[in-house]
Symmetry: C2
Amino acid sequence: MSNMVTHSATLQPVLDKIDATLDDSIARLQTLLNIPSISTNPDYKDDVRRCAEHVTADLLSIGLKASTHDTIGHPMVVATDDSAGPDAPRVLYYGHYDVQPVEPLDEWNTPPFDATIVEGKNGKRIVARGAADDKGQLMTFIEAIRAWKQVHGSLPVRVVILLEGEEESGSESLVPFLTEHKKDLIADTCIVCDTGMWDESTPAITSRLRGLVYIEATLHGPSHDLHSGGYGGAVVNPANALTKILAQLHDEDGRVQIDGFYDDVVEVSAEQVAQWNSLGDADALTLESSGAKATFGEKGYSTLERLWSRPTCDINGLRAGYIGQGAKTVIGATATSKISCRLVANQQPEQIKNALFAFLEERTPNGCHWDLKNFGVAPAIAVPTESPWLSAASDALTNIFPNPAVLIGTGGSIPVVGEFQEILGVDTVMVGFSLDDDLIHAPNEKFELSCFHRGILSHAAILEAYASIHV
Amino acid sequence: MSNMVTHSATLQPVLDKIDATLDDSIARLQTLLNIPSISTNPDYKDDVRRCAEHVTADLLSIGLKASTHDTIGHPMVVATDDSAGPDAPRVLYYGHYDVQPVEPLDEWNTPPFDATIVEGKNGKRIVARGAADDKGQLMTFIEAIRAWKQVHGSLPVRVVILLEGEEESGSESLVPFLTEHKKDLIADTCIVCDTGMWDESTPAITSRLRGLVYIEATLHGPSHDLHSGGYGGAVVNPANALTKILAQLHDEDGRVQIDGFYDDVVEVSAEQVAQWNSLGDADALTLESSGAKATFGEKGYSTLERLWSRPTCDINGLRAGYIGQGAKTVIGATATSKISCRLVANQQPEQIKNALFAFLEERTPNGCHWDLKNFGVAPAIAVPTESPWLSAASDALTNIFPNPAVLIGTGGSIPVVGEFQEILGVDTVMVGFSLDDDLIHAPNEKFELSCFHRGILSHAAILEAYASIHV
């Protein structure tokens, strides 16, 4: 499947091995996907641990040193390989083996934890929760390392793999773990695989990530649910009040009304905007992959600018009153919203979180009170785009895919990139193979087998390219 | 327990029988309450039928002719007794044996379908879903009829009992059933038991009911749930949009902004308002029974005026995005609200429902669409207050309770009262024994045993009082 470029005598047999054993790689991915490692729901705690232990066993079977580490939350998996010798560059690979919840379950065409191969417009794809986010992605570098070890016995670079089990649930153990294990994790460069391509033929390196504030806000009114006939019009209905408050989060131009929200936002350069807008028809891609009928957002910015360089505020969950089938004439005692802000470079997450809390508190209806929970904050990231690692990775990708690699941003957040920079002092190259229509966080999440395959080939090419960088 | 009034030689032994067999009456109520007859949820269809058959068997055991009638929805129970002879007045009793859903289940102190006697501030109470709404209430007249039959062999009036199983789910079978069985149901007067007292010592007859419009509105945006990082700021978030739309339902003075909403509302007379406001401290009662810290509602009206004579609009349910534990960075494909309006005399329910639909449609965000469902409408009711039936019932209540009966309104809706007037041509006297703090439609619904007991005594007294009315 690798393209017409001539590869080195070292790399070519690894690529051939990957091509020849692709079915085995897919089978291993299926086994991994079938473990329901939902980290945000305590009911799945044992499954998350089982998943960590499964991956650890797999890494041991490749010939890496690997172990499952207990944390205050879900376990960390760490694996190392020093077969390249002490002078070789050391590369830290990061992925996460935990997954998002699967609700609404009835919208899945196949069970979320029974990974299924189906035909799609780009050939075969694998459908399961975690297919693209992030089990399918982390398996691209694990399978590349496996193939390289099988062909050559040793790796061309020193490797340390860190796999987290709390990426989807706030990563509470990450900073303590990085701090405690700094000596073992330190590396010359880092690869984070939790990102996407521009399209199925065009690989990408991601240089901008948005940050995140995520809170839950419950408005409490009466002490218990009330009959809407007996009390409607007499006391506050928290559901009515909540909608009135949340409606004020944006003005008519889609600008967020939280106090000081835009104070630290840096406008990106016209050149940067022009480069992004030259990538292709982002509106068409967005509409196609989202199934939305129209784009929407802050006035005065293109879709890629809004996604990659503008902060947002979104309601991620609403719950109040009766939500079952049919009618119930109830005034719910409480109304709950989950709210997140995506942040851009320079915004201070703690400050935005506090301003959001204040926005809600200032609007508390008479006689009501809030229960406000913080589910975690992360700053936005911009990584250096002029590094030998990024150039080498970009060349490696270009040698595997039909189109050359491009530099993009992403609207999502990968807090670990900031933690690596801060705690380990290492810059990250973000290389991933998911597509916009992979339905991550949604029912019927999938990963294209062509992306999986080329992702493995790419990581083999990156291993070779990194080996020649002098550190 | 009956008070110091001297009762007739006909009534007194019935009252004595009721006092002596109260424990049996309570046991029968418990058996009835333990059947989970939730009509709005199709999962309980068989339980609803089982409940109908249980009540039918009980009515047969008293010596009434009784049967369970199939409908397009849940069954109707009809029972008759003609032992009073052809010249006696015929009284139609209405109640409903179905109950509200029980969510949130974890807020119940005892299982909702394991009726439990506990101590409360007014003595013993029975806690279960349906305790006050409406199983405990319909058992007041059934137990009175049982005692009368046991003591005297025959009843002093002709009786027809109609028990519905769809009151909490839109009553779709009611009108067809009344129309088809008009001949069998026709009566000189009707008693509906689904109402309350002013307080635990003061019985009440309800003369004003609010009407109801209940809809479900789901706003559809993207075709599937989206990652809030990958799409936040690029396409419409239906949860954001829904709150922005619902926030416009009321202005800053609490007035409903649906087009033409107040056009047909008739202001009540100053005398009427004065009578209501003389009943007692409604604000204190409302705050105590709701557990709210402040009253709230349309500016310029007292709490009783707002409840009994002003229309409202309330959000009864909100659901969007992720509502489980923890965080999920999702933009939900849809956002759903259940919305009801309480109507007052003269408002046209169909017109209000259409205006509410139009209110939503006019605000549809670009690229989105609504799924709008109508869960049923009912007009407000004002019954004649100058009738011999109402006077006789009022006197009977006054002879049983410590305080005289008062005339009140209610914020709730009892559509059947309108149907009886329209289809059977019969006016209703609304006599019920629930209290504001009975937590109907909420967790830990209860019925005071003193209310249950005096309710049974009252219905015996009403049977005698009605027997002397010339028809």
